[in-house]
Amino acid sequence: MKQVIVHPERCVGCMQCMLACAAAHSKTGALISAISESPRPRPRIHVGAGRYDEGFPNRCRHCDPAPCQMACLPGAIYRQTTTNTVLINPDVCINCASCAMACPYGVIRYHADPLAPADKTIAVKCDNCIARQHKGLIPACVEVCKVGALTFEEMDAAMKKKTDQVARSMSAEAIAADHAPGFSLLNTIKRAQKEINLSR
C-alpha cells in the first residue's frame, strides 16, 4: 500500500502543497474557482518554519493506533484499513476539540468544510486524498511538490516497522509491551526525530 512520505530536509517552504490541498478539498476541485467558494477551502497540510527557519510540511501521520481516535468523544474518528487512512466522519463530529489535545503533531483544524454539512464547524485534517485515489490520482500535495519533499511510495518493511513502533509508543496508552523491551523508550518526539533522520 502506498503512503505519503514526508522528507522535511528537502522542503523549500514554497507552500504549493497547501494551495493544492485546499483546491483538492474544495467543491469545484480547481484552484481558480476554489478561491471564491464559501466556505473558503482550507489546506490540511501546514508548512511552517522549522528551528532554523527551514520549511516543514506538517500533516496527519495516520498513526496506528491513533491517539486522536482514542480521545474522540462521540467516536467520529475511524481508520479506513484499505488505504490505511485515519478519517473523521463530519456527521458525527461534535467539534469538541478532544482530538486537538490528543494529536502530538497538532495537525487538526476546526472550521466549516466544503465537503461537510453546511455551516457546521468540524474537525478537519488530511484524508490522504482518498477521493482522488479512487480516481487513480495521487494525493494533491505530492503531485504539486516539485522538490520531492512529499512522495507517494510503498513503505519498505523497515520503515513500516519503525513507523508502527513509534506510533504505538506514542498513543495515549504507551503500549509498552513487556515482552518487547525498548518499545517504551521511544516517544513522540523521538518518533519525529526518527522520521526526519530516516528520510535523509
Binding site: 522535511p8 530536509e9 511552517g48 518554519a49 522549522g50 528551528r51 532554523y52 527551514e54 516543514f56 506538517n58 491517539p67 486522536c68 482514542m70 480521545a71 468523544l73 462521540p74 467516536g75 461534535i94 467539534n95 469538541c96 476539540a97 478532544s98 482530538c99 486537538a100 489535545m101 490528543a102 494529536c103 502530538p104 503533531y105 497538532g106 487538526i108 483544524r109 476546526y110 506514542m170 498513543s171 495515549a172 496508552e173 504507551a174 503500549i175 509498552a176 509491551a177 513487556d178 515482552h179 517504551s184 516517544n187 513522540t188 518526539i189 523521538k190 519525529a192 526525530q193 526526519i196
Partner: protein
C-alpha cells in the same frame, strides 16, 4: 476463560474489545446498572443543551453485544464482591463467577451537604436518566442554580444558558475551574460566561433548599437567599467502589492498580474513573477521571486480562472546553494548588486576539499548560508532558500560537 466486566462505560467497552481481539472464545459477561447501550457520557451536556437527541449518544452500533458475543446483564447493580469465592453478586441476588474480573464502575457525583435535598428540581448530572429528568423540568424553570465551578457544573451552566435559562453559579473557590486553570485563565473564563448572562458568586455555598414540593429558594452560607426552580449539584465525583471489600483490595481514593491495571487481588483488574494509577505530570498516585484515560485504561486492562502483557504509562489530567467563541485547553499542573517553588512559569497574553497561554516547567520538563483560544496545537504540548522529554528550545517558542512542531527537533 470466564470474564466479568462491571460497568458498560467506555472503560468497560474498550476492555471487552481488547479481550475479544485476543480471546475469541472466552465467555464475557457485562453487568451495568444503566440499561442504555454504551454511550458517550460527556455528551449528556449536549443533550441538556438540546444540541443532540439521545439517538446521537451511543458510541457503538446496536449490535455491540452480539458482535462481540457479550452477555449483557443490564439494569442490574453489583452489590458485593467475594474475592475468595471469585464471585460478584447483584442487588437482585444473581451470582456471577469469574476467572478475570474488571471493575469499570466509573464514578458517582459527590453529594452535597445541605438541607432540603429531597425537594424536586434538584439534580446530579452523571447519566442520561438524570438529564432526561432535567429536560422534563425545563418547561417551568426560570432560574437555575449550579453548585460548583468544576467541569460538570460548568457544562451544566453553559447548556442552560444556551436554553435561555438564567443561571447563577456558586463556587466555593475564587474562580471557575480552579482545579484545572490558574487565576488569570479562570477570570477570563468567568468573564466570557458573565458576558453571556451567567451570574457567578465566589467563596459561597448552599446551606439549605426550601420549597413546596419543588425547590423555590436556596439559602446561602452568607445568610442571603436566591430564588431558583432548579439546582444542579456539580461538586465533583468520587470513584464508585462502594461494593469493593477494601480489606481485600487496596484502595485509596480509587482502586489502586499497577502498570497492568491489576489490583492487589488475584484476577481482579480496574480501569477508568474508578481506578487510581500514576499521574505523569505529578509523578504520584492520582485518579484522573477523564474520557481518553478511561478508554486507554480499559484497553490495557482488557489485553492484560486476556493474557497479553501490556503496560500503562500513567495518566495525564487534561481537558478542553469550548464555550461560545472561547476555547480553553489545559493539561497537567497549572492550578496554584498543583504548583510550587520548583516550577518555572512562562506566559503570554494577547488581549486583541483574546489569547492567553501559560506553561509550567520543572527543570526542562513541561508539566502543565493552560491555553485560551488558538488551541489547535495543544496536543503537541500534551505529548511533551506525557513523554517527559526535556525541552531544549526556548519556552517562548512554545508560547507562540503558530509555532512549528519541527522547532522541537534537533537536526
Amino acid at each position: 476463560m470466564n470474564y466479568v466486566i462491571i460497568g458498560n462505560g467506555v472503560a468497560g467497552v474498550t476492555a471487552a474489545e481488547a479481550i475479544r481481539q485476543i480471546d475469541a472464545r472466552g465467555q464475557i459477561t457485562m453487568i451495568s446498572d444503566e440499561s442504555h447501550p454504551p454511550y458517550c457520557r460527556p455528551m449528556i451536556s449536549n443533550l441538556l443543551e438540546g444540541a443532540v437527541d439521545v439517538s446521537r449518544l451511543p458510541i457503538r452500533g446496536p449490535d455491540f453485544y452480539d458482535r462481540l458475543s457479550i452477555t449483557p446483564t443490564l439494569g442490574s447493580r453489583v452489590t458485593s464482591l467475594d474475592v475468595n469465592a471469585r464471585t460478584v453478586t447483584t442487588k437482585g441476588g444473581q451470582i456471577f463467577a469469574y476467572d478475570r474480573l474488571l471493575i469499570a464502575a466509573g464514578a458517582d457525583p459527590r453529594p452535597l451537604d445541605a438541607q432540603g435535598l429531597d425537594l424536586g428540581g434538584i439534580f446530579f448530572m452523571r447519566n442520561i436518566a438524570q438529564v432526561q429528568e432535567m429536560i422534563a423540568a425545563l418547561a417551568d424553570t426560570r432560574h437555575a442554580l449550579v453548585l460548583g465551578g468544576g467541569l460538570v457544573g460548568f457544562k451544566a451552566a453553559y447548556s442552560l444558558l444556551k436554553r435561555n435559562i438564567g443561571v447563577t453559579m456558586l463556587i466555593r473557590s475564587g474562580y471557575p475551574l480552579s482545579m484545572q486553570v490558574d487565576e488569570t485563565a479562570g477570570e477570563m473564563i468567568q468573564q466570557v460566561l458573565c458576558d453571556h448572562g451567567l451570574t457567578v458568586r465566589t467563596g459561597i455555598s448552599v446551606t439549605a433548599f426550601e420549597g413546596g414540593g419543588r425547590v423555590q429558594t436556596a439559602h446561602l452560607s452568607d445568610g442571603s437567599q436566591v430564588p431558583c426552580d432548579m439546582a444542579i449539584i456539580g461538586k465533583g465525583v468520587f470513584p464508585a467502589h462502594g461494593f469493593v471489600p477494601t480489606d481485600r483490595i487496596d484502595t485509596d481514593a480509587g482502586i489502586l492498580v499497577d502498570d497492568h491495571m491489576a489490583t492487589s487481588a488475584p484476577g481482579i483488574y480496574a480501569a477508568g474513573d474508578v481506578a487510581e494509577h500514576i499521574d505523569i505530570a505529578r509523578q504520584k498516585r492520582w485518579v484522573n477521571a477523564i474520557w481518553p484515560e478511561a478508554a486507554a485504561q480499559g484497553r490495557v486492562a482488557g489485553f492484560n486480562m486476556a493474557g497479553r502483557a501490556l503496560a500503562y504509562r500513567g495518566s495525564l489530567s487534561r481537558n478542553v472546553i469550548r464555550m461560545f467563541d472561547t476555547d480553553v485547553m489545559t493539561a497537567g499542573r497549572v492550578s496554584p494548588r498543583d504548583t510550587d517553588e520548583t516550577c518555572r512559569f512562562f506566559s503570554a497574553a494577547d488581549h486583541r486576539r483574546q489569547t492567553y497561554r501559560k506553561l509550567v516547567f520543572e527543570d526542562q520538563i513541561l508539566v502543565g499548560f493552560v491555553m485560551i483560544n488558538q488551541i489547535e496545537q495543544g496536543g503537541v504540548l500534551a505529548s511533551l508532558i506525557q513523554s517527559r522529554t526535556p525541552v531544549k528550545i526556548s519556552a517562548h517558542h512554545l508560547l507562540d500560537p503558530g509555532f512549528n512542531v519541527s522547532r522541537l527537533f534537533d537536526r
